[in-house]
Amino acid sequence: MDFSITADQRLMQESLARTLEAAAPLGRVRRFAADRDEAGADVWAALADFGLPGVIIPEEHGGLGLGLLDAALAAEALGRAVAPAPFLGAVAASVALTRGGSAEQQARWLPGIASGKVVAGLAIGEAVAGARDGMGVKASGGKLTGGALFVTDAMIADLFVVADTSGGLHLVAADAPGLTRSVVTSIDLTRRLGELRFDGVPAEPLAAHTLDAVRDAAWTLLAADTLGAAEVMIEKAVAYAKERRQFGRVIGSFQAVKHMCAEMAAELEPCRALVWYAAYAFDDAPAEASLTAAHAKAHTSEVGRFIARTATEVHGGMGITDLLGLHYWFKRIGLNRQLLGGPERVRRIAAQIQGLAA
């Protein structure tokens, strides 16, 4: 009966943070970023031990049976740690199956996803954010043709959730005939993207109208990831400002620097409540889910850009060096901003959801 996260949720988040400190410290993230072929299996295994891949999967299918708010709190922790992990795909596939899969499909796929053994990639970019470079997937007679870009974890996934251009959703096994995949490199080397090419690839259709739920969940997780990454950038900026001395005093005693930090905090803190609410609405207030997820995604992206830039500035020249590594958070926020639609695109959808735009 309240607007807050529970003590259990707080404990889960703290425990996950400790797991990530051990399994994915910055040095581990750097190795993942440096070796583009590395799959990060050890990190994912640690998260699987934690139960994270199945966070929203019902217990009868081997998951933790929790809600999207718990998943969002986990995404925040992953963002804080700039941790490499195919978590977005796991949750998106969980949503796709629980909301749009048959009992048989659920039984076949969910336990593998929950255990972390089946890695899922998300290929809905064109349907949500628009198609570029002649991309887009057409479905006909149970087969898919075309291409999808910006597919999460494309090279290591066992299963893909694919949207066609009419908004239909499909499951595609990674070893399906006619499917080819290739690497796409973004600024953010803590995540992996890829391109899929479909040449008459057999696919399992999911129920109609499932795409919106998958999109809303993914938007919320991306917002939560940015929330976590931006928190860390503020913390690092504040710590640096308290320690770095110029002109005989710590720079944090200069009002300009103080106010940069205050503005970052003032922008970010209210985002937290919106991210929480969007995640809560996904499970408990469906009429508000899409609008709040859209706004959480778009607004947190804008705030994230402001913080990524401002926190870097507070660090002065050190902020742009690889020595400090602040750029991992900067770029994480940068990818979250554009993935599944930049803020302008997502706000347009927010207007459409309310009937304010065609």
Binding site: D2, V250, H259, E269, R272, A273, H295, A296, L356
Partner: protein
């Protein structure tokens, strides 16, 4: 996180709805000096726990336990039918909480009830021409004389001073103490001889504020609240309540709603304003901010009802809330184009010029009650534990 309504809560909602339907013809809104019908409506609201809900019954309130859901239901149902929510003047929002925290038993008994019922109207005497952001440097002096203080000096930004019965005022009672320790918080009647009120016209064209001048104003010492020389700390408790009031997310949501309605009904060259993608995008940016502040407000309410400190989520409300209101008004003006600058009267004026009025008045709110710069200092120092402004060599 659970905002679902149980059957009990749905029952409460039904109760509120029944009340609002039954008393539909008695709705009378707020006013500085309310008429009898408004006083009656206020009493009715207190009797039913829709105003002064959590204030103890012995002091004239309804005496209910804090309950976020019931509070939310009352707000929703009153907003839905447009019923006036009870008085929201400075006496109720600032003085009453202060008296509850630090007033003597006699002060509570004497002032809270009449204030809640609208029978006593208050004004606030804090800022002075030379003491704005640096409020603690205030110079209005109160010289001890037997059982009285004799007050001389002046105050500024005193709204409703001309209509008020009473003032809660900061005066310097111990001129030799360090600046924060020499101040007392004192209550006295505005009818006391030696008080002059001059209206202070602002950029809106109206006099929302006054200057108040004190010349040898003799008032009893018994009006001091919270102890002589403790006024700075008493006032800070009150300022905290003011900051909360200035960032009311419900009012902001209502204003956004009005903006979107405006954009749906107004058009230029036959095209609705909302159909202009540039303005629509700005409206969506503001809607996102409104949602963040709405849910941030619920989060703060939850913390406050659980007796927890709201931390950063509370510190940012004034800064972000005032700015957001200002920006909503700015978009309305921009979307209205040339119509957006009309004011005062005339057949083409929209919403009685309230968008322009709000745009200007809100700028005053951004400045007042702790400027945006002071808010940022507070956020950095209290919220982020950053260093305070260092002491100067020459200060």
């Amino acid at each position: 996180m659970d905002l679902r309504f149980t059957p009990e809560m749905e029952g409460f909602r039904e109760e509120v709805r029944t009340f609002l339907t039954k008393h539909r013809d008695r709705y009378v809104g707020d006013a500085v000096r309310p008429r009898e019908a408004a006083l009656e409506w206020q009493r009715l609201l207190i009797d039913h726990g829709y105003a002064a809900r959590t204030i103890p019954r012995e002091y004239g309130g309804y005496g209910a336990e804090p309950d976020i859901l019931k509070t939310r239901i009352i707000a929703e149902e009153f907003t839905r039918v447009g019923a006036p929510r009870g008085f929201a003047n400075q006496g109720i929002s600032m003085l009453v909480p202060t008296l509850l925290e630090v007033g003597s038993e006699e002060q509570k008994k004497r002032w809270i009830g009449p204030t809640l019922r609208g029978e006593v109207v208050w004004c606030q005497g804090y800022s002075e021409p030379g003491a704005g952001s640096d409020l603690a440097s205030l110079q209005t002096k109160a010289v001890e004389d037997g059982d009285d203080f004799v007050i001389s000096g002046s105050k500024i930004w005193t709204s409703t001073a001309a209509q008020a019965d009473m003032i809660f005022c900061l005066v310097r009672t111990e001129p030799d103490a360090p600046k924060h320790d020499g101040i007392s918080y004192i209550l006295f009647p505005m009818t006391t001889p030696g008080i002059e009120v001059r209206p202070l016209t602002t950029m809106t064209g109206s006099a929302e504020f006054n200057e108040v001048f004190f010349t040898d104003v003799r008032v009893p010492k018994s009006g001091v609240v919270g102890g002589r020389g403790r006024g700075w700390f008493v006032a800070n408790a009150t300022l905290k309540h003011e900051r909360g009031m200035l960032g009311d997310p419900n009012a902001t949501e209502a204003r956004l709603h009005a903006l979107i309605e405006l954009m749906k009904t107004e058009s230029v060259d036959g095209r609705r304003l909302i159909d202009d993608p540039v303005f629509c995008d700005r409206a969506m940016q503001l809607q996102a901010r409104v949602l963040t502040m709405k849910f941030n407000g619920l989060r703060n309410l939850t913390a406050s009802m659980a007796g927890e400190a709201s931390g950063m989520a509370g510190l940012v409300v004034k800064l972000q809330g005032c700015e957001l209101n200002h920006q909503i008004a700015a978009l309305a003006i921009d979307a209205l184009g040339e119509l957006g600058v009309l004011y005062e009267d005339g057949p083409h004026l929209r919403a009685k010029g309230s968008w322009q009025w709000n745009y200007m008045f809100d700028l005053g709110l951004i400045i007042g009650g702790g400027t945006a710069q002071i808010q940022k200092n507070i956020i950095a120092e209290r919220g982020l534990a950053m260093p305070r402004e260092p002491k100067l060599a020459s200060a």
